[in-house]
Symmetry: C2
Subunit: 283 residues, 2 copies
């Protein structure tokens, strides 16, 4: 996950103003996605979520061309890196001290390219070890779904383990599972897939939506519903989604093993095929 | 509120790394307080809250001397500014992409001095106009009380008005008032003062605690309890506290006026006297 290069407001740089509102208040949004042979995977979906988030927070959205220019520069700086991770950050801009933001602020746009994380191949093939976190996700209907910069709950949850697990699941105050620290979650039970509703908490994950759309387009039943701990434990299969990993099967959740992975593996192949096709078509 | 100078990790500077975890995740804390003729007002209380917050988030606390050095430098740079505002920020430090933080991170310490805000004298004497915000405060028992950097709820709430009010009140999901966007709240009713419990949401305000301690030390009854909208509307007096303003009486809340201000005014005089004595004794 080593940082290779970063761009701040169009110039290669590695620092931002201490008056940036992202820094002071988390007043901004981010997107993280794969750059595969120079192609931004599921770019349309990431850009659209960013635009939606900017609208929700009242931040001026950067144009698509503006961001694509940065991505092209980051790729040109690293033409031999086959698979990399791009992170885009958009904040409301710099302002004086205080929560009040002037109307005419110019958003700060920070883009960076990092190496692909050193995940083991077995995470995709055999599955991952998952923990249930004690840190809860608070409910905030205005912020739910957005990939905003207020991420202390994820930081606290990630502190609950070191490398003995690959992911941790987070619940809301009602005890329903919402998502993983860095992923969304699906379960398979009796021929039906389901994933928690992202309504009061959680991130509206791009890979989650890709899975939902692929199923919908092909007549595969998926339900968005509350995911109780009981449903989770009794699932036939569990899998995790995010834009960097695609799909990881869950091998073990706390002490319970999930040997069934057939649906998950086929879904994973489908998403990968779709990702590569999509990346090849892009640009 | 214009920024005068800032210091980043001991050097006068106005930029931080784009890899700072405060910037990426809001993974840090801050304190804001008065610098009165070079004296940090209620310094012990601010430093102690910062240390407590660092403990809660697992961030290494900066030493008191380390921060005092910064404050001295900021004052030396502006020796003729009688009343200024100091902001201290402590983040977990820089790290690679991802929620996981290595154990050995070196916290980033950012301090700055700004001019005192241009508040009208009548805000202290006649009181302020206050709105009830629609933006709710989410409940998060691990983060409640801390002055952490995840402040999007305050940013959204502050967007609900321009300059037609001086403060907005925020409620939790149960409809109880927790605090103002930038202040804590007290009400006076039938010879008793009360302020909302800071247990599931809200900031453990230094000025709030000063008021509580002053009352306790002098046998004045103050209750920490849920503050329903009914209690609020039926209060004899309402006042707001924070470290920069001290105490502001509330003149009008939405459409209801609060002409009684006697208790508030005497409490305000007491806190101001105590603040100045304290500042004079310090250093």
């Amino acid at each position: 996950m080593a940082l290779l290069n970063s761009i701040v407001n169009g110039e290669e740089a590695s620092a931002i103003s201490t008056q940036d509102r992202g820094f002071n208040y988390g007043d901004g949004l981010f997107e993280t996605f794969l750059l595969l042979n120079g192609h931004a995977v599921f770019w349309d979906e990431h850009y659209q979520r960013l635009v939606n988030g900017c609208g929700a927070l009242g931040i001026a959205s950067p144009t698509e061309q503006r961001l694509k220019n940065d991505i092209d520069i980051l790729y040109q700086l690293n033409p031999n890196v086959r698979t990399a991770v791009i992170k885009l950050m958009v904040t409301r801009g710099d302002s004086e001290r205080g929560y009040h933001a002037e109307d005419n602020l110019s958003p700060n746009i920070i883009t960076s390219i990092s190496t692909y994380p050193s995940y083991l191949t077995e995470y995709w093939n055999e599955g991952v070890l998952v923990k249930k976190c004690n840190t809860l996700l608070s409910s905030q209907i205005q912020l739910a779904g957005l990939k905003h910069l207020n991420r202390l709950e994820q930081v606290l949850a990630r502190q609950e383990w070191r490398d003995e697990f690959q992911e941790g699941l987070m619940s809301d105050v009602n005890g329903n599972i919402v998502e993983g620290v860095m992923s969304n979650i699906f379960i398979v039970k009796n021929e039906t897939m389901s994933t928690p509703l992202i309504k009061n908490a959680g991130v509206n994950g791009v890979m989650r939506n890709i899975v939902l759309k692929l199923c919908e387009a092909n007549g595969i039943m998926v339900v968005e519903d509350n995911l109780s701990n009981n449903k989770l434990v009794e699932a036939d299969e569990i899998f995790l989604t995010n834009s960097i990993i695609g799909i990881w099967p869950v091998k073990r959740l706390e002490n319970k093993s999930y040997p069934n992975k057939l649906t998950t593996k086929i879904m994973k192949l489908l998403v990968e095929k779709y990702s590569v096709d999509y990346a090849t078509l892009y640009l």
